[in-house]
Symmetry: C2
Subunit: 186 residues, 2 copies
């Protein structure tokens, strides 16, 4: 059967994500990943450029794990599902998730989700010119809120976050209506 690789990139990222989930950001070290794989730390460098690349890989994995809502359901519901997914992911990885705001949103995993958001906004009837702006606004807000909630930034009871989201949902509906009317006038 020849000489097979003992480890590969997939399994390296698997255990990195696993360690992050259990012990947070600081628990993800080259040595810890290597140990859990039964290999020396140096072996990882064949599958990962460096530690930054390792974290990028974990982030990409988090994005790809998010299940996209079916395009047949109402756009409001689709956005809600995506927002809930962001919140759940942030809860599971409160120290790694925030890095999303600091990495290019042009990886396949990121484009996939941005596409789903844009699609929902188009189905909402938002003018095409508004879509990219609204997408960046919504995704920034979602990541920011999910991060804040997961890391306790708002310190109040959790109901406050729910109320914020209800407020935001109301705004969003109003906004879509407003922009549709503005486009119709033009």
């Amino acid at each position: 059967m020849g000489r097979r690789a003992l480890i590969d990139r997939t399994v390296v990222l698997d255990v990195a994500a696993e360690l992050a989930e259990d012990g947070g950001f600081a628990a993800v070290t080259m040595q810890a990943v290597a140990e859990r794989l039964g290999v020396t730390p140096m072996a990882l460098y064949r599958h990962v450029n460096d530690k930054a690349d390792l974290f990028d890989g974990v982030l990409e994995r988090l994005l790809l794990e998010i299940e996209l809502p079916d395009e047949s359901v109402a756009w409001q519901e689709r956005l809600r599902v995506l927002a809930d997914a962001a919140r759940a992911t942030a809860q599971r990885h409160p120290e790694v998730f925030p890095l999303l705001l600091q990495r290019p949103s042009t990886t396949p995993g990121a484009l996939r989700i941005r596409g789903a958001i844009c699609s929902a906004l188009r189905d909402a009837g938002l003018p095409e010119d508004d879509v990219p702006h609204a997408e960046r606004l919504l995704s920034t807000l979602a990541v920011g809120f999910a991060t804040s909630e997961a890391t306790g930034r708002f310190e109040g009871p959790d109901e406050a976050v729910e109320a914020d989201i209800a407020f935001l949902r109301e705004l969003l509906l109003d906004l879509v209506e407003l922009r549709r009317q503005a486009a119709a006038r033009a």
Copy 2:
């Protein structure tokens, strides 16, 4: 003159912020801070609990350095000034600034800015019940956008960010109007 302390918390945070500005997050180590102060790393522990406390101190300093707009100018302008300050701070500290989303927003430095935002929103005529929600929405968005811009998350030309902000400004004006009308009807 007795035995004076050679260093104190203020100067420790000074050089920590300085190192962060020059070399980013990774450049802020206990040893680097100590060296620049002409002291051993262990001496820092009298003035700072640990490394997390050191970063909290730097963050608080960044918040306190932000100049609040004069209450006499129009609310739109005040929000713009605050947003510009966030963007400038993020540019200066692209690796430390993002931590703002992961720390309680209840320190004196944070409350100071939240107060300024709330004040502007009240002057805009936003219903009182909406103010706390809108404040969290705006501050999350501002930190998120400033972080994205400073770390190159949107990868496009910088004009895109300006266009996003123009879009957001337009939305904000419409929204305030909408909520005022809603409150008037109720």
